[in-house]
């Protein structure tokens, strides 16, 4: 029981490791830049809209599924990737906007 509890705490500690890195993905000229990103579990990606019109960001991937709605120029949306695996990221407004994030242990 006690061991289990400790393990849980350790896991949580890992997930919120202070070394979690932050990355930025731009949405510019109706494309993600870059279109491929490799990160570690717990890292945060900030999607920033650099276009003078709205974008969205969502994923229906098993590893991480999210939909942040749409947001205007200059705004960003932060997503924490908490499981290892592949995440296909898209913009619902512009279906040709696609990118891939690989989350490793």
């Amino acid at each position: 029981m006690k061991i289990k509890y400790c393990l849980g705490v350790a896991l949580i500690a890992c997930a919120f490791d202070a070394s979690a890195a932050e990355y930025e993905i731009a949405q510019r000229n109706k494309a993600f830049a870059p279109v491929y990103l490799k990160i570690k579990v717990g890292d945060v990606v900030n999607f920033v809209n650099d276009d003078p019109f709205a974008h969205n960001v969502y994923s229906l991937s098993e590893t991480k599924s999210f939909d942040v709605g749409s947001y205007p120029k200059g705004q960003g949306k932060q997503i924490t990737f908490d499981k290892p695996g592949q995440v296909f990221v898209e913009c619902a407004i512009h279906p040709f906007m696609k990118m891939k994030i690989e989350v490793t242990q």
Partner: protein, 342 residues
């Protein structure tokens, strides 16, 4: 100021003046304006390169009512060149006079498209072409019967052989030929394009002001972008359901995300003066009504796109926007309908 910097400065002033006159309204942002120029190359599909034989075959198929179950309806019944490649109806009329739930979009410039249908359920022209032939409420044609029927027509046998040697008369070849023809249906010279190339008198002052509003105060360019005036994207602009019609979820039928409920593909604005009524359900009869819709900031406010807001346009500004849209019509329709193979 040294003499050299003065010279340099006046040189800059001269350049600014020259550019200023070339674009006529000096406050146009060049980058914003250049996106509306036609791409220099013809758009082709790498897996289905165009050839005159393929286009000729596709053109015949597009106009041939023998592609329908009743032998009375062709693609051109709804996508009619005389009506801006649409049908002039609020929503299409299909087999047995059945009223379809959505308006017929023009196929002009579909070569430039990356996603098709109001809800984006098709991803290429090839992918789209066989849909309406087989749809019960559209051309209602059984594919096996169609292949048999076409093989009995000598002219078609020859045309398929020329266009896709060795492939035979297959659904795939039919789709590819129709798509090849559709890629040739592009808008040609418009007053707008002539103006952008420097012909100052090609459009009225009202239209020029309208374009400025389009890029600025009215921000239509948030969605109607590029040569074909569409971002190939999906937006809910708050269009009401027509009385007696069912609510249409639009893009949400394909992509179950909150923001996609009631979102539809941004249509091209090229040839738009010829393709009334407007919107996916044909709710508006005139461009004036469309501009009023945007001026109100849309009608159905739940799930509205964040770019939609009341515009507070003056009467003159509304007129200017409409005048601008009317400059997007090709000068003339140069098109000969085909004599069908026998």
């Amino acid at each position: 100021m040294t003499r050299r910097t003065t010279v340099a400065a006046s040189f800059v002033v001269i350049i600014v003046c020259v550019i200023g006159t070339a674009v006529s309204a000096p406050n146009f942002n060049q980058a914003k304006v250049e996106q509306f120029q036609r791409l220099p190359q013809i758009v082709e599909s790498p897996s289905n390169p165009m050839s005159p034989a393929r286009v000729a075959l596709g053109k015949a198929l597009f106009f041939d009512p023998r592609l329908s179950g009743s032998q009375s309806m062709s693609c051109a019944s709804c996508h009619n060149p005389s009506l801006g490649w649409s049908d002039g109806l609020p929503t299409a009329i299909g087999q047995g006079m059945s009223k379809l739930r959505r308006a017929t979009p023009t196929i002009v410039n579909s070569a430039y498209g990356s996603v098709f249908m109001w809800d984006g359920r098709k991803h290429s022209l090839e992918d789209q072409a066989l849909g309406p032939i087989q749809a019960k409420d559209e051309m209602n044609m059984d594919m096996t019967i169609l292949l048999e029927r076409l093989s009995t027509i000598k002219g078609y046998r020859e045309m398929f052989d020329h266009a896709y040697p060795g492939e035979g008369i297959t659904p795939d070849a039919i789709a590819k030929a129709i798509a090849s023809f559709e890629r040739t249906v592009v808008s040609t010279n418009t007053p707008f394009d002539r103006w952008r190339r420097g012909e100052q008198r090609a459009v009225s002052d009202a239209a020029k002001r309208g374009f400025e509003l389009f890029l600025g105060k009215a921000d239509c360019v948030a969605c109607h972008q590029g040569f074909n005036f569409t971002d190939e994207g999906f937006h809910n602009i708050g269009v009401k359901t027509v009385d007696g019609m069912k609510d249409d979820d639009g893009r949400y039928e394909q992509l179950k995300l909150r923001g996609m409920k009631g979102a539809f593909k941004t249509p091209t604005l090229r040839e738009v003066a010829l393709t009334a009524p407007y919107m996916h359900n044909g709710i508006y009869t005139t461009l004036e009504e469309v501009v009023d819709h945007y001026d109100r900031g849309g009608d159905v406010k739940d799930n509205l796109d964040i770019s939609m807001r009341p515009l507070k346009l003056s009467t003159q500004e509304k007129i200017d926007l409409v005048e601008f849209m009317k400059t997007l019509t090709s000068e003339r329709l140069e098109f000969a309908v085909p004599r069908l193979p026998q």
